[in-house]
């Protein structure tokens, strides 16, 4: 269904003297689920930031399909369907779940501000379309009952789902998730993993997930990339990558097996 193949070539991001990400080349196949693993400070979040346009790229290229998007702003990448979540939930805490999710409809073509304010016909159609999409994703994620509640009143795991709903309310091409299960317990992690798999099965999209939990990576991902100190040290099938010696060492501090 998705045609866009996301590729990075020799990607480097430098903050002053620090090379947060260096010379990474990878291809993210359409509709695949890719796990990004590695210890803290390995550059996983920086890579997501570089893919989503939240940080400037020092050198290298990012392509979506044939299109070079290296210089595109985050806003322009969202318009192409590259959307993301954050390690800590970013929601409008005082506003309702409904409003937070509807915010994601920004990716639908919206009428001009003048049309919106004067409620001209294009705005009627846009509003009907956005309301329907919002209620549908709320329903899919089981959030309907919370639609009118302020986000701040909800438990953390539910807020994670609200953020996910905001990303998925308009069907995305590429979804970048930064530790979607951070701060959750075992059961919540498993639930999040299952939910992601189901959503992906229903309407496939390319998904890149930063995840620490080895089990989640094994069950969820079709591909894995391991980073250490900004560099890519292994990639391939999750089971193979996780067994890789350098990954074992970087990840678990285990030395080479003789």
């Amino acid at each position: 269904m998705t045609q866009a193949r996301l590729t990075v070539e020799d990607l480097t991001v430098r903050y002053g003297a620090l090379q947060a990400v260096r010379d990474i080349s990878a291809t993210f196949q359409p509709d695949s689920i890719v796990g990004l693993i590695g210890p803290n400070g390995a550059g996983k979040t920086t890579l997501l930031n570089a893919l989503s346009g939240f940080t400037d790229i020092t050198s290298g290229r990012v392509r979506l399909g044939e299109r070079d998007i290296t210089r595109l702003s985050g806003q322009a990448r969202v318009a192409l369907g590259i959307v993301r979540s954050f390690q800590t939930v970013r929601l409008l805490e005082d506003e309702s779940v409904f409003l937070n999710v509807a915010l994601g409809c920004e990716r639908n073509p919206q009428p001009t501000v003048v049309e919106q304010i004067f409620s001209l016909p294009r705005q009627w159609r846009a509003r009907r379309r956005d309301l329907a999409a919002t209620y549908q994703i709320l329903d899919t994620l089981g959030l309907s009952e919370f639609a009118g509640r302020a986000v701040a009143e909800l438990p953390y795991a539910t807020r994670r789902l609200v953020e996910l709903a905001r990303i998925l309310v308009v069907h995305p091409e590429v979804v970048l998730l930064d530790e979607p299960a951070a701060g959750s317990d075992r059961a919540e992690r498993d639930l999040m993993g299952r939910t992601l798999r189901q959503l992906h099965a229903r309407e496939p999209f390319t998904m890149i997930v930063v995840e620490h939990d080895v089990d989640v990576v094994r069950k969820l991902c079709s591909y894995a990339i391991a980073l250490d100190s900004g560099a890519m040290i292994a990639s391939g099938e999750p089971d193979v990558v996780l067994e890789n010696d350098r990954v074992q060492e970087a990840y678990f501090g285990v030395g080479h097996r003789a």
């Binding site: 985050g74 954050f86 005082d94 409003l99 920004e106 919206q110 501000v113 919106q116 304010i117 004067f118």
Partner: protein
Amino acid sequence: MRIAASIVVMAFVGLLPFALDSYWVFTLSEVMIYAIATIGLDIVFGRAGQLSLAQASFFGLGAYLAALTTTLPAGLQFLLVVATAMIAGAVVAIPTLRLSGLRLALVTLLFGELFIWALDHLGSLTGGTQGLVVPALAIGDSNSQDPTYGYMLVLFFAVAATLTAVQISRTQFGRRLLAVRDSEVAARSVGIGLVRTKVAAFMLSAIFAGVAGWLYAHVVGFVAPPTFDLFPSVYFLIAVILGGAGRVAGSWLGAAYIVLIPQAFSIIGQSNLFPILGGGVLILVALLLPGGLMDGATRTAGWIRARYAAMRQMSSNRRPA
């Protein structure tokens, strides 16, 4: 049901000028004029979170445009005010885009000071510190400075402003404003253009203030710099916060407060007490009711409803569920 209630309210408000004496009719017109400008500030501050201390300058811009273009037809004046306010809003917004909080407040304050400075120094045009007389706007066989006609004129625009503000809450643009206020990161992650949204908010709020100023000049009949300096800007801010940021009804409450309470104090001959009360109320509301009076009212209503529901429950708990 709501439509019926709206019609009753509108009829009541429309008939008010025939029941009150001209002084109170004029005072209510003033409340409505200030409500329009307050609703405008609520868009840029209450919703988009951009602390602006230039609202009275946009208000003054509209007022002085009215004073200087009295020979033009009213429709043309109105369009001119809207266009000029839009430009002014953008002019203030663009250099301040990278700023927030105190910095933004100070730069908008400087814009306001510059506006007053210009009024004072363009004496041949603006009447300088002495101000300008504004001839009444003819409406049929009466004019805008007749209290009843002035009231009707202002009422019309106040209703339009209120409906516009309500409509904004129902649009994606309205959601963009809140996102810009609450989390710029979240706003960017869904693809909201921060610059475009902030500039639009400033322009829109300037239009509201400009139109309010235009009405002010035609209804009051006199414009002078002190009506548009830093203090009124601060009072607009007070109105937004007091009423409840982001709430249209709150803007109305706030505007009523900043117009009627000083009057009440002057009627009892204690007008010097208003700033004291004003300062105290501002502190108390910000500390105790951060959502403003509207929020307080909503919460009280919710509490009463919950109690009422609980009582109903108790009285009916013998019936099968």
